[in-house]
Symmetry: C2
Subunit: 422 residues, 2 copies
């Protein structure tokens, strides 16, 4: 099956929107052993859109179009499809039924703009949209099956999974494919590649090794096809895991917070947080995990020195003598949090996120982290000279990984923190 | 100038990575009044990549290639460019110098995988990369200027801004263009479009109206070109702002948290937070804003009932009689936080994010929010039946917007919360 993807939207061409939809479509398609040959993206330009639809349809078995089904004037996929097939658009009864029911269920008033979404190319059939107002469009151009899908990610995902994948599965046999995705933190792409090159110069061509650097977790992906794909991938999965060592979090999808929650649950340990420079991010990551309430009683965001004193019993004299970003203060924050929150474990962070607040001896990017338990509290200083947003992301991730290593009794630090020369 | 964009990477075709780079490139290009005609994306397939480079170069004045300059085996842009121009790759002295210095500055050891990044097409020149190890590649294919850029977003952004835009600016005159971007919360795309259709059926074609739904903020974008673009856009900006009314946060880029911090600073008010179901997200949003320390002393994440009692003085009897998700408890949380944090204002939230924990009378999606000051504390229940992650995002945004409306003395709620029929 030759499958191509056409995305439309001025917001994509002008950079107003980051296209996450094509990745979602591609992941689903790939997981079924098909592949997307090419992605093409154009703006909301009717003639250009018509031409692209004609060109791509003449060169594909399947053309998936995404976007342009919405209620606004810049949504013109339906019209472009009609023009490309030499048809008019007309009110589609199934679309009208869907839209009316959709609004009913949600207690929304149907508005005029929405009604535009019922005007579809004559003779097409609709693809059900369980989550939104815009139905999908299905029609043939020559021998090419054309499927138009909505731009709203949650609607697209459901339509792909429940409608389009089964439809494709019924019509096109899929290759036998095996993929393994590993979640890694603290080990860089080039470090892993170098380990692989050194240890396995004979790495087989048919075991595809891919990396996805999605801050802060790195995804390492293995892909094999055809006979014995299963055995082969497990063999090489074992070898790569050996190289990744204690930087392995587990199988994707897995966040650092999920790994921490799972480890803590297994040992029946609770975790509290005391955050200054991360301002609640560590707590937010932990509570983003369903079921985290059994592990996470709560946390304190002590952004000001006053709150550090009042809620975490940090001593005024330490703040005066050593400053808020110091070993003594982060230690007091951690101990204060263990007391106030009554948790078995704690992570406390205080640092300088910038852009202001840096000094000669404490430049922006300096951060002290304390983690562990009452009896075994570790304290360390790190230096992450990056912009405010990335700094907060990295410190949050580092704090979570230090907890993970503590819970799992893993000695040492993530390699990214030790690669620097002494 | 006809400009096309070619993105490469198996991770893009397999959906492992969400492509934010093309949006970044497009936004810069668009802001200079140029446009990208088409974006094409292909995997790390050497012959396919070579062919696309040849095809696109023969049909463009400028071809910007993104990705495939990294240290790993799946990075093959340099080789593809060499093949497409009938050249070999060879160690480029400038690239080697750059890489050596880059590692020196960062105290990194130069590793073998990195060295691959110095092998460039014979006869090309490099484009400086101020932030990373991979230099860009500049060469001509026929009359087309080909520019290869790195995949790491921070490196790409700097290279585009400091190297490529000036280079294009020197060679190609840019149209006169005016854009206005408005940040809006609580008013949907279709509602705005309907207001526009009703109030301004004569909306001019040359004032392009675009929407970017980037949860939770909606960006409304106006674009005009040519003579008097300035006057025209300001005229229609005024009209659209009138329709958006109190849902307008300000000019993009602007987050809800930035709007809240700005409003609070202007009135010299401090804000504290007491979060249960949002688990620290509201605090994290506020502290994500540089300079937020003057407004935000801190917050308490009271995920468990025990912490609600100990740190926020929520009464055990209220928890027992009304439950943690109730009017009385959210009110006590807010009052407790005002006391514990000593802030002028507070926002407190307690709800059921799900997937578990729902009941007949308190289904998943139920949330109580209290906001305001000691003397003027508002409390309201909302129902947001969406998945856990979206629920936490929406409740965080809603809490921030309610604070914004309170500080600015705006009566009423965001329309999205009132559009439902009684």
């Amino acid at each position: 099956m030759k499958l191509q993807l056409l995305l439309t939207g001025n917001e994509l061409m002008a950079g107003d929107t980051i296209d996450s939809n094509s990745a979602m479509i591609a992941e689903l398609i790939t997981n079924y052993g098909w592949r997307i040959d090419r992605k093409t993206t154009v703006g909301d330009d009717l003639p250009l859109l018509e031409n692209q639809i004609r060109d791509l349809a003449s060169d594909s078995d399947v053309l998936i179009i995404n976007g342009g089904l919405g209620p606004t004037v810049d949504d013109m996929t339906s019209l472009a499809l009609a023009n490309a097939t030499g048809n008019v658009i007309t009110e589609h009864p199934d679309a009208l039924t869907h839209l009316t029911q959709w609004c009913e269920q949600r207690g929304f008033r149907l508005n005029a703009a929405n009604l535009k979404q019922t005007m579809l190319p004559k003779g097409c059939s609709i693809i059900a949209n369980a989550r939104g107002s815009a139905v999908g469009i299905k029609l043939k151009i020559g021998s090419c099956l054309v499927l138009a899908t909505p731009g709203v990610p949650s609607e697209l995902r459901t339509m792909m999974r429940d409608e389009i994948i089964p439809l494709l599965d019924a019509q096109f046999a899929s290759d036998y494919i095996q993929t393994q995705r590993l979640a890694v933190f603290g080990l860089g792409e080039s470090s892993i590649q170098e380990k692989v090159n050194t240890r396995y110069p004979d790495w087989p061509d048919d075991v595809e090794l891919g990396f996805r650097a999605s801050m802060p977790v790195l995804e390492v992906k293995l892909t094999t096809r055809g006979q014995n794909a299963g055995e082969k991938i497990n063999e090489w999965r074992g070898k790569i895991i050996e190289l990744i060592d204690d930087h392995l979090l587990g199988d994707m999808p897995l966040s650092l917070a999920q790994a921490v929650i799972a480890a803590a649950k297994a040992k029946n340990l609770s975790i509290g947080t005391a955050e200054s420079c991360t301002g609640g991010r560590i707590a937010a990551e932990l509570t983003g995990v369903a079921g985290s309430s059994t592990v996470f009683p709560g946390g304190i965001v002590s952004y000001s020195n006053a709150i550090k004193q009042q809620l975490l019993a940090v001593s005024e004299s330490s703040l005066a003598s050593d400053g808020a970003v110091s070993e003594v203060v982060v230690r007091q924050m951690a101990q204060g949090a263990l007391l106030a929150l009554g948790s078995d474990l704690v992570v406390a962070v205080t640092g300088i996120a910038g852009p202001d607040g840096g000094s000669e001896d404490k430049p922006v990017g300096t951060v002290w982290i304390a983690w562990g338990s009452q009896d075994d509290l570790r304290v360390k200083k790190f230096f992450l000279p990056v912009d405010r947003s990335l700094f907060q992301t990295l410190v949050t991730a580092l704090g979570l990984d230090l907890l993970r290593r503590h819970i799992l009794d893993i000695p040492g630090l993530p390699e990214l923190m030790t690669r620097r020369k002494a």
